[in-house]
């Protein structure tokens, strides 16, 4: 029987072949419905066991059955039982009562059925209801039923390397007779002499079918099939063959992200995909990284992509978290990552929809790209049990070099001397002959002239504050999953536990997850399924991320600022809070002891999330199915913050105890109804049509209560103090949509995808409630053309072009509606409740709209040894949402308005190359992406937006530059002599003392001969010019080795810590680079750093906002190294089907000029207008781990 005949038999075909046995109840495990349908309705198909043994998983069940003289009917029942099949037959049939001997040992059901029926005149078949039925071999010649047995043997090798391939499946096509190759790639098989075709299959290679042609030796070589793993691509509302995809979609395999020691999968995506930029701005366990896909397209509506998990768009709602009441807005800690509630181990695949063609199916939410997450499902057949675990140790990574005490003392004296001497020089102070550069002798009692006493008489203390604050931390992770199923039902169950300590002791992240996925076939046409995920993420947080003057102060910045001359502990072992830098004298900057911050201030966040879906699919007709999905997402957050009664803020002598509790709840439901129609017209036309409508609604509730007046630390909840303020916020949004997509393939060569979505949302103003988002894309598979058919080197060459419209609907829930806020008044000494309008209405308010064009090529060359994609895109985002200045005579000074335009364009390249294939495997993945961000329209007049981040106005968003560019003066160099100063443009901004040699020379940008505020200009931006990722994978025998390098180029950091730690004022700790400062004309240092001067602000003003504080944030990082060993079968002795042990290191090394911890730092990560500021952040850590993956 050849392959062409291997198709379901129609009823007519069955009648022609044989008569159908009348069927009578007498079955074993088949349920009543199946029997009924089988008896009442003959209109269904049959599958011959011989032909379909490998297509029907039940037939591959391994059974053992040894019986003497038993009835054929009983044997069939028993086989059906063991294989989870039903059975249907006519009890009168003589054959059923025939007594037979059965001796089947560890063989497939298929083999057993064929064996026991051999020569009986009947052949086994499987009905569509999964019942074993018997069909008479009326037309077969009895003589042929006992085929001769012949032996076939041979060797299987790799087509390219000639190396033998072990464990290749060899099967006689149409039977279950088969074996697998041994370690030398050799096999030997007894086959019926009429066997025609052998099939060789092995994961990662193309399956090969070879005609036997009576040979006794069949040697084959297999070709690697590199694309096999991701042949199917998940797209919105369905899946597609990769070769037919016309949009820009990038996938990442689950293996790549699973054993990375991070709290959330997004961190593991860094550097993996071209155009998907993941920035780890903080190392705080459980904090969010920032993902931007193809650049920053929005100023105020957020740049976070839409996450869709198993078809359910998930809100990553950071609004559930309350700000710390005592902390100012720009110093708020990074949000606890809502997506950290998802266990990376539960993820099967991640697809990123990058262009408008792919994302337009998500309409008003597609502008920032869409990340589709598919979770693992059970598969019918064998039960699989997986266990994996790793333990690791994290430690500080890329710690900046700070001055030691001796250098700091010299630097501080230098700064105070220079200050005093300049004041004498300009005549503000009389000279004093007693002046001594090393002591306070002869100096006036002015704080900024005096050297702190502990610097004059140093006792040798040299504290390494960073070393005290950062310590190694443990990490452990355990995952267990069990999945399996049969033809009617599948299940997948998993549970996981992650415990990650932070390198600042006391900070930690823990996650507990539980997941269940079920599918069930109710009958031929109706399927149901459910996924349920539940998780608890617990964040133990410390205030690591703020500057030293934050409320609470940041631990890291406090440690950087604290002088190394100060002892961390008092003699009695308590934390030194009363004799630290705050009390050195000489006007030194006051700062809290970072150890006290760690000990006395804490925050706990508990984040629970339950989300999932229930769905049903119904086949209305052969090609037409209907799916209804109900998805839900429940999230709650409980926050508790406490600042204890022993904590002293900077130089304060009395504590300010404070507690805050916050709670947040989110309920989001979605109901989606879609129909999917597939048809083939002739051989040339393939059509797939998806259409549907969806409704989604979300409600969030958030409350916060603050208390102070704590007298002790016994009760650290708000109950322990006096409650003094509170708030509760409740908001809702809703979205109703209709969507449709057409995929059309002509001759497998010409591809068309067209989508449209219409969204109506409560967020939009009454005049603009509904938006339509269309897209179209075309593909041409040139490799299918005849002129390329002879070119063996090209396996795939597909040209793609797309254009589409998407939106960004992340505007405030009630941005279109004028809100009132409290405006109380007083009468006779008591308060009167009052309200007043606080925002204006805007009935025209609507989504931001992005228009994106994408051109791309997908290629696979040299027998799929090299494959990848190239893309070029330009995106224009219009109707940018801005707070625009309006005439204040209206009663409002700003109004949220859709006005503004930004462009992003870029080039993306990715390639996977199998450099060496064979016993030694070496493969390389490389991706590279550029993006250029340019503002093209702003507000009614195009006025630039000057933005204040954490330290005054240092950002500008203006036409022609990137959003949130850094803004300030340009440092051209350092004045080496008075003559240079005299020849330079007059600096109108310096103090009365003026600049001196060693001070910065600021650039006269506008060329008017003066340095004024008009000489501020764009001095850098956080937006990288390009990013890349490079993975090399090596395998030799059972060993595997992996190295992953990732880089970001052309990004600058606005290092606000430079305002203190490298400003020349020497009023605190300092970066060690200031040892190379300008000291004198004969000792000018390395030319980068100015002289020391305590009162620089009234002299040369080296500390003004300038390019000196903007540093190159480009970096190349060896992000991950791993080394694994897969235990050999002999060792396992059959206990496991696979066992791998490995060790890995994350954050191995970084190559960067950035002076601080982390060149990806971003204080206000969610503020597009003020990106890239470093004001002290939780550092990243290096993690070394060992782990094991077991499959049973």
């Amino acid at each position: 029987m050849n392959k062409q005949n291997a198709r379901p038999w129609s009823l007519a075909g069955v009648l022609a072949l044989a008569f159908v046995l009348a069927i009578q109840t007498g079955s074993t495990r088949a349920n009543a419905q199946m029997i009924t349908s089988a008896t009442s309705n003959l209109n269904y198909q049959y599958y011959s066991v011989q032909d379909y043994s490998d297509a029907i998983p039940e037939l591959q069940t391994i059974i053992t059955l040894q019986r003497q003289q038993v009835r054929m009917g009983d044997v069939l029942k028993e086989i059906a039982d063991k294989s989870n099949l039903g059975i249907a037959y006519n009890a009168d049939l003589a054959i059923l009562n025939k007594r037979i001997n059965v001796n089947v040992k560890k063989a497939t059901t298929s083999y057993a059925l064929q064996t026991i029926l051999l020569g009986s005149g009947y052949e086994a078949a499987i009905s569509r209801n999964r019942e074993i039925i018997l069909i008479a071999q009326a037309e077969l010649d009895q003589a042929d039923q006992e085929p001769e047995i012949a032996e076939v043997s041979g060797r299987v090798t790799d087509a390219e390397t000639g190396e033998p391939i072990p464990a290749v499946n060899v099967v006689v096509l149409g039977t279950m007779i088969g074996t697998s190759t041994d370690a030398n790639g050799e096999y030997s098989l007894n086959v019926p002499d009429d066997a025609e075709v052998l099939r060789f299959s092995f994961l990662g290679y193309k399956t090969l079918e070879v005609a036997v042609d009576g040979r006794s030796e069949v040697n084959v070589s297999l070709e690697a099939d590199l694309l096999a793993l991701d042949d199917i691509v998940v797209v919105g509302y369905g899946t597609q063959q990769r070769q037919e995809v016309t949009g820009a979609i990038t996938s990442v395999r689950s293996e790549e992200i699973q054993n990375i020691p991070v709290s959330s999968f997004e961190n593991a995506l860094q550097g993996r995909m071209a155009g998907v930029n993941v920035a780890e701005s903080t190392g705080e366990p459980g904090a969010s990284p920032q993902i931007t896909i193809r650049g920053t397209g929005s100023i105020s509506a957020g740049n976070s992509p839409l996450y869709v998990i198993d078809g359910v768009p998930i809100t990553t709602n950071r609004n559930l978290q309350s700000d710390i009441g005592s902390q100012r807005g720009s110093f708020q800690p990074p949000s606890a990552n809502p997506l950290a509630t998802i266990n990376p181990k539960d993820i099967e695949s991640i697809e990123v929809l990058k262009d408008a063609s792919a994302a337009a199916i998500y309409g008003s939410r597609g502008s920032n790209g869409v990340i589709l997450i598919t979770t693992k499902q059970g598969t019918a057949g064998r039960t699989s049990v997986n266990f994996s675990s790793y333990v690791g140790v994290s430690s500080a990574f890329n710690t900046p070099e700070m001055m030691n005490a001796a250098d700091l003392i010299a630097y501080t004296k230098d700064a105070r001397n220079n200050n005093y001497l300049q004041e004498i020089e300009v005549g503000n102070r009389p000279a004093n002959p007693d002046y001594n550069p090393d002591t306070n002798a002869g100096r006036p009692n002015v704080a900024n002239f005096l050297i702190p006493e502990q610097y004059v008489n140093w006792d040798g203390t040299d504290t390494d504050w960073l070393d005290l604050v950062l310590s190694p931390a443990a990490m452990q992770n355990y995952d267990l999953s069990i999945s399996g199923g049969n033809q009617t039902s599948t299940y997948s169950f998993s549970t996981g536990y992650l415990d990650q300590e932070g390198i600042i002791e006391g900070s930690a992240f823990q996650r507990y997850t539980l997941r269940l996925g079920l599918t069930h076939k109710l009958n031929d046409a109706l399927r149901i399924g459910a996924n349920m995920n539940s998780a608890l993420a617990q964040h133990d947080r410390l205030p690591a991320n703020a500057p030293y003057f934050g409320q609470p102060p940041g631990i890291i910045y406090s440690a950087l600022v604290e002088s190394s001359v100060v002892k961390p502990y008092n003699e009695d072992g308590t934390i030194n809070q009363r004799n630290n830098t705050s009390f050195l004298g000489g006007g030194m900057t006051t700062t809290s002891n970072p150890l006290a911050i760690m000990k006395y201030i804490s925050e706990d966040i508990q984040n629970t999330r339950i989300f999932g879906n229930l769905y049903t699919e119904y086949d209305i007709m052969d090609n037409l199915s209907f799916k209804s999905l109900l998805g839900y997402n429940l999230e709650s957050i409980q926050q508790s913050f406490y600042r204890g009664t022993e904590f002293l803020y900077r130089n304060q002598s009395s504590p300010q105890p404070f507690a805050q509790t916050g709670a947040g709840n989110l309920f989001n439901w979605i109901w989606e109804n879609t129909v999917n129609y597939n048809t083939t017209i002739g051989t040339d036309h393939k059509v797939n049509l998806v259409a549907g409508y969806t409704a989604q609604k979300e409600r969030i509730e958030r409350s916060k209560i603050e208390a102070n007046g704590f007298t002790d630390d016994q009760i650290t909840t708000i109950n322990g103090g006096i409650v003094n303020s509170g708030e509760e916020v409740i908001e809702e949004w809703s979205l109703v949509s209709a969507l449709a997509r057409l995929n059309y393939v002509f001759q497998d060569k010409y591809l068309l995808t067209a989508t449209v979505r219409s969204d109506r949302s409560s967020r939009f103003g009454a005049n603009n409630q509904t938006g339509v988002f269309p897209s179209v894309s075309l593909g041409w598979r040139a490799n299918e053309e005849s002129f390329l058919s002879g070119v063996d080197e090209i396996n795939e060459l597909k040209f793609r072009a797309s254009y589409g419209v998407t939106g960004n609907f992340e505007i405030p829930n009630y941005g279109a509606i004028g809100l009132l806020s409290g405006a109380n008044y007083v009468s006779g000494g008591s308060q009167l409740n009052g309200v007043a309008p606080s925002t204006s209405s805007n009935a025209d308010l609507t989504w931001e709209t992005s228009y994106q064009t994408n051109f791309g090529v997908d290629y696979a060359l040299l027998n799929d040894r090299v494959y990848g994609s190239i893309d070029y895109y330009t995106t224009t985002t219009q109707d940018l949402l801005l707070f625009v200045t309006v005439p204040a005579a209206s009663g409002f000074d700003v109004a949220l308005t859709n006005i503004g335009e930004v462009e992003n364009s870029g080039f993306e390249f990715s390639v996977t190359s199998r450099n060496m294939v064979g016993a030694f495997n070496w493969a390389t993945d490389f991706n590279f992406a550029t993006n250029e961000n340019t503002v093209t329209k702003l507000g009614p007049e195009g006025d630039p937006i000057l933005s204040s981040g954490a330290a005054g106005t240092r950002h500008i968003t203006r036409i022609g530059d990137a959003i949130g560019s850094y803004y300030g003066y340009v440092v051209e160099g350092i004045y080496q002599s008075q003559a240079e100063i005299d020849a330079a443009p007059v600096d109108k901004l310096v103090g009365p003392g003026g600049a001196r040699p060693g001070d910065f020379r600021f650039k006269d940008v506008d060329g008017d001969g003066e340095i004024t505020s008009a000489d501020r200009t764009v001095i850098g931006s956080y937006h990288p010019d390009y990013t890349f990722g490079l993975t090399n994978r090596f395998e030799y025998k059972n060993f595997d080795f992996n190295i992953f390098i990732q880089g970001v180029m052309g990004r600058e950091v606005l290092n606000l810590t430079a305002r203190h730690l490298k400003n020349g004022e020497a009023n605190f700790g300092s970066y060690a680079v200031l040892n190379d400062r300008w000291i004198s004309e004969s000792n000018p240092g390395n030319g980068e750093h100015p002289r020391a001067d305590r009162s620089s602000a009234s002299h040369g003003n080296n500390n003004r906002e300038s390019s000196y504080q903007v540093e190159d944030g480009s970096y190349v990082k060896i992000k991950n190294l791993s080394f694994g060993y897969t235990l050999p079968d002999t060792f396992l002795n059959g206990a496991f089907s696979r066992a791998r042990i490995y060790t890995a290191m994350t954050n191995v090394a970084i190559f960067t000029d950035y002076i601080g911890f982390n060149p990806e730092v971003n204080l206000q990560a969610n503020s597009s207008l003020t990106p890239g500021e470093d004001y002290g952040a939780y550092p990243l850590s290096r993690t070394i781990q060992v782990g094991i993956d077991l499959a049973f």
Partner: protein, 452 residues
């Protein structure tokens, strides 16, 4: 098949029945869609309009800068840096149109006007359970709007005259009007308000009449000022406090001399006033503008008291700092001191100005002088009537934001300030510049004052 079709139809029904599905209003925030519907809504909203008077952009801080510090009674400390340096520029007529104080005052004044406009535009169609309440709320809204427009007209001169709620700020018609048109609108509004307001209360009909009189004077229409001011006097509702020093301070908020005051309370609930910090020696140091620095009293003013004037000791401390706003706040800008905006002494002096020289006029002035322990004056007293009246106003109403409008109204602002500062008269600006950002946002509709 039939069943499956039904399943398909279900969501259709759901969608088509739910046009309202995407109409969602705020839940935990009041909003213009569902507020301003009941009497109680308006009673709360009018409190919100009063709140605008407390703002630092209006009476809280900035009106003091523009109406008092600008004149010759006080001076900025000098040698100041940062924000205080901007104040010094304002004090010395060196201000620039981009000064943030100007913009803040513009924004805060119009914010209050908009709060009043919203009430005025919406109240007529609403059923109140009490017409008295409705009249009072509407009268108070008209009064607040008038008071704010009076300040805008004095400070900036030509300002947009907006009298309706603005619902589309991006596309509004600014209607920049001369001060005279603004005064005319105020006169209309106050006449209406006087009829709506009760005879007593936080804004009485008398307060409306008194303000109407003041505005007529400022508009140069003395004749029209007489009648409303006389209505106040003849109502016999108000009287001079026996002791001048009893008018101010937290304990004197119910004084029968006070026709209208902006009320404050201490306690760190955001309702405290900053006058103690701005004027007096006992303000809490630490904030910008804290302590007496920005409002040091000029020698010229100290010298202007007649011997025996009881007001001097009540106005100035021994060290010549301002005593009127003395209090003991525990934190900066959180004093209990109210701002006394209209009091009976001003009504008497306004009336004296309105009726002009004569026995009647001197009679009003002498009522005020008598309380100060000073002898009566008449036509034989040296100096012109205007000089005598202005001198009386200067000491009686010192540090009450009356001096700068007086100098303007009496036409001597340029000469007085030029000699006070030692600058040329040409350098003395009668109007402040309209904030540059307000011109930038609507350059086609807004014109800068010619002096700037």
């Amino acid at each position: 098949m039939k069943k499956s079709l039904l399943i398909l139809l279900l969501p259709l029904l759901f969608i088509s029945c739910s046009e309202d599905f995407t109409v969602l209003g705020p839940i935990s925030e009041r909003n213009v869609v569902n507020y301003y519907k009941t009497q109680s809504d308006f009673e709360v909203a009018i409190n919100g309009a009063f709140d605008a008077l407390q703002s630092s952009g209006t009476f809280g801080v900035n009106y003091v800068l523009f109406m008092e510090m600008r004149a010759d009674n006080t001076a900025n400390g000098g040698g100041a840096t940062g924000l205080a340096a901007t104040l010094e520029q304002l004090d010395k007529f060196e201000e620039i149109a981009t000064a943030s104080e100007l913009n803040r005052t513009w924004i805060a004044s119009y914010d209050g006007i908009a709060r009043a406009n919203t009430i005025i535009s919406r109240i007529d169609g609403i059923d109140f359970t009490s017409d008295d309440v409705k009249n009072r709320v509407k009268g108070e809204a008209l009064f607040i709007r008038s008071l704010l427009y009076y300040h805008l007209a004095v400070i900036f001169g030509n300002v947009p005259l907006i009298t309706e709620e603005v619902t589309a700020p991006q596309n509004m018609n600014l209607n920049q009007s001369a001060a005279s048109a603004v005064y005319a609108q105020i006169a209309t509004d106050l006449a209406a308000a006087e009829g709506l307001l009760p005879s007593t209360g936080r804004v009485s009909s008398g307060a409306a009449a008194a303000l109407l009189g003041r505005v007529h004077l400022q508009a140069g229409d003395k004749a029209s000022a007489v009648a409303p001011l006389k209505r106040v006097v003849n109502s016999n509702t108000y009287a001079l406090e026996a002791n001048y020093s009893d008018i101010w301070g937290p304990s004197n908020e119910g004084s029968s001399e006070i026709l209208f005051q902006v009320e404050y309370m201490s306690g760190n609930v955001g309702e405290g006033s900053s006058y103690t910090d701005m004027f007096t020696a006992s303000g809490v140091a630490g904030g910008v503008g804290g302590g007496s620095a920005p409002q040091s009293v000029t020698d010229d003013f100290i010298a202007s008291y007649e011997v025996g004037d009881l007001r001097q000791a009540a106005t100035l401390s021994d060290s010549a700092t301002v005593e009127k706003y003395e209090d003991s706040p525990s934190s900066p800008f959180d004093s209990d001191v109210n701002w006394v905006e209209i009091r009976y002494a001003e009504v008497l002096l306004n009336l004296a100005e309105a009726v002009g020289e004569g026995a009647e006029g001197y009679g009003y002035i002498n009522q005020v002088r008598a309380r100060a322990g000073l002898a009566a004056i008449d036509g034989t007293t040296p100096g012109t009537y205007d000089e005598k009246l202005l001198q009386e106003r200067r000491v009686e109403l010192a540090f009450e934001n009356k001096r700068w409008p007086d100098l303007l109204r009496f036409g001597i602002a340029k000469s007085v300030m030029a000699s006070h500062l030692g600058i040329g008269e040409g350098a003395v600006n009668l109007l402040f510049p309209i904030p540059q950002s307000q011109i930038d946002v609507a350059p086609d509709q807004m014109t800068q004052n010619s002096e700037h």
